[in-house]
Amino acid sequence: MSTEPELDADVAEMSFEDRLEALVGTRVLERDDHKNAPGFVIRPDDVQDVLFDLRDEAGFDHLSCVTAQQYDDRYESIYHLKQYDDPTREVSVVVPTSTDNPVSQTAEPVFRSADWAERENFDLVGIDYEGHPDPRRILLPETWQGHPLSQDYNQEKPQVVTLSEHANPLQADHKDTETDTMFLNIGPHHPATHGVLHVKTVLDGETVVDVDPDIGYLHRCEEQMCEQGTYRHQIMPYPDRWDYVSAGLLNEWAYARAVEDLADIEVPEYAQVIRTMGAELCRIAAHMLALGTFALDVFGDFTAVFQYAFRDREVVQDILEDLTGQRLMFNYFRLGGVAWDLPEPREEFFEKTRDFLDDLPHKVSEYEDLIVTNEIFQIRCVDTGILEPEVAKSYGATGPTARGSGIDMDLRRDDPYGYYENLDWDVITEDGMDNYSRVLVRMGEVEESAKIIEQCVDLLEDWPEDDREIQSNVPRTLKPEADTETYRAVEAAKGELGIYLRSDGTDKPGRFKIRSPCFHNLSTLAEMTEGEYIPDLIASLGSLDIVLGEVDR
């Protein structure tokens, strides 16, 4: 590629930034640019005004993440905006509020995704959002006292948790005698919720009237853990445990990418190829699990599809174990590269990987016979759980969930990282907007991932022996410059997995915020299921493919 178009893009970007500043106009108090995007500081009561303008005039239709944090002298909410058409176009809206009275206007009327995001910020950091339709805690129990990520929180304080707010799930509870609806608890211990999700459902006969996902049963303080660790080594094991269905390397990449951007670390090309290959292997394993458990949910197929999916996962996990040394929690990426080179003898590893890839088309066609063309499956999935693209965008849905609704966004292509832009592969989208489309997208992505892996294996096989640099030179104690901020995302198995990082000059992050794709995908559940039948709720939940470790963090 010549450099000329890039220069042009730069000029366009500059003027775009200026246009943005002109659009926000006098409401800009000052600039607070982040590494990834221009940042505009605004007053807490201008939030909706500015966001409406940015959405309608400048096309920022994706509220990617809402970060909250406390400084010594102020609280701060940051709205990270993006465009679905071009995710490299980013802007941050910074809203400081005073320490005594941390009240900020809610962004919920502009973006539905702000609903849950702001609830989380209230829960963990303690910022009140004025006008928020549902200002409850979201992750911690209702009875919790204090906000754990605020500065004056005392972790030693005893806490009391009751079961009183949840009725006995075995008892039919006619909450309202007038309308004859029934309240039903699904979860948190239920085979179809894929973990510890609790869905409070109101039924009218078999029709779902109201759905309220209650999350936080696996909130294990990932952000706090990451803020306590040093950049170089202590944080990397944690990403593996966010999305734990073998998608570890994809998550590690999110962290690696954020820090590499924060501290300007180069990654050798050879390491990028290995990363790309490992990440795609993980994606296959993750999608296999989604497929198997979905078949289990909708037509109770424990014996065939579920077991087949796990058979194939075992093969992938074996390859990943050869590569990284672990079956599930890889801890293989390092800042500026990977931990070690491919296992010796390399030929054996390549052969094993190629064997897997050669078998895959046959297996995929087997899944097609068993799942996609299965009549029961089609009855359960076609035209159920409809998610309109506009609704999906407003809720910040990404990944296969968005692509099943025809939204053509994939960060691997649109915001390239790793080695993806040099490889030949396609983004899979389907226009059906239903549960069926989301499954088709995942199955298509498995094939695309296989194409990527094959090209990576070809590259690695021919890579000259004296040029196999797996890690660039990174200082032992990494201390990025104080007050550098960045928000960087990668395409994980479930969608856009982003990390917001603020350095405070020490070897540990000042603020570490995780933008979880599952969290936002799950918030669309109510839109998909209200007015539908209760079995469709289970199918829709399965097709969202959530992992509670990532929803709750």
Binding site: L140, P141, T143, W144, Q145, P148, Y153, Q155, E156, K157, P158, Q159, V160, V161, T162, L163, S164, P188, H189, P191, H194, G195, V196, G216, Y217, L218, H219, R220, C221, E222, Q224, M225, Q228, P237, Y238, R241, Y244, V245, S246, L289, F306, Q307, F310, R311, R313, E314, Q317, R327, L328, M329, L548, G549
Partner: protein, 234 residues
Amino acid sequence: MSNEPTQQIYDSTAPSTETQEDRMGPGVDARMNSKLREAFGSSPFILTKFDQFMNWVRGSSMFMLQFGIACCSIEMIHTYAIKHDLDRFGAGVPRASPRQADVIIVPGTIVSKFGPRMKRVYDQMPEPKFVIGMGSCTISGGPFQEGYNVVKGAEEIIPVDIHVPGCPPRPEALIYGVAKLQERVANGESSPVVVKPYELEQFGDLERDELVQKLADQIDEEDLVMRYNWADSP
């Protein structure tokens, strides 16, 4: 009492006894020629104590609770599924309802909100019940031990019989843990179920500020109240 069988028994079983004697030859253990053996003829039988038999049955046919919490549950599913196939060891039928299960594998981190839920699920299981703690999180809180919301091990809430360390343990490790539990159960060694580790009380000596008072007023006797005293946790 003579060691010789009565005439009536002798007559009815003589043909098979003779065959047996011919087959075994001289010098065999006297037990083989007991009255019981005479009574049963050549049909096989075992002598055992009823408890021992029950323990053996219990250990050889375990019904697991299908209970997924976190990362470890993925490896737990792999243990049930193809390749590792826990069913080979008579422990591979996950039950969706706690009322049908006698073993609960706790596969993951327990946080404050989930604690009371797990306690309730455990209480719903019929006695005798056994608990396998899978992974570091159920031992101490594992990598999340310092978290503000993480219960420092399953033993704060329910008694655990077998701990399987690892983050996550490999399927082989879980199978080993299950086999060890089976061994213990079959030997009747399993520790009695105790109710000590969790606290079931109405706010105890917690300072009665406004919120605590309000909650205390709302509590009815049936409620499960869990009090986390993080400072005293290990």
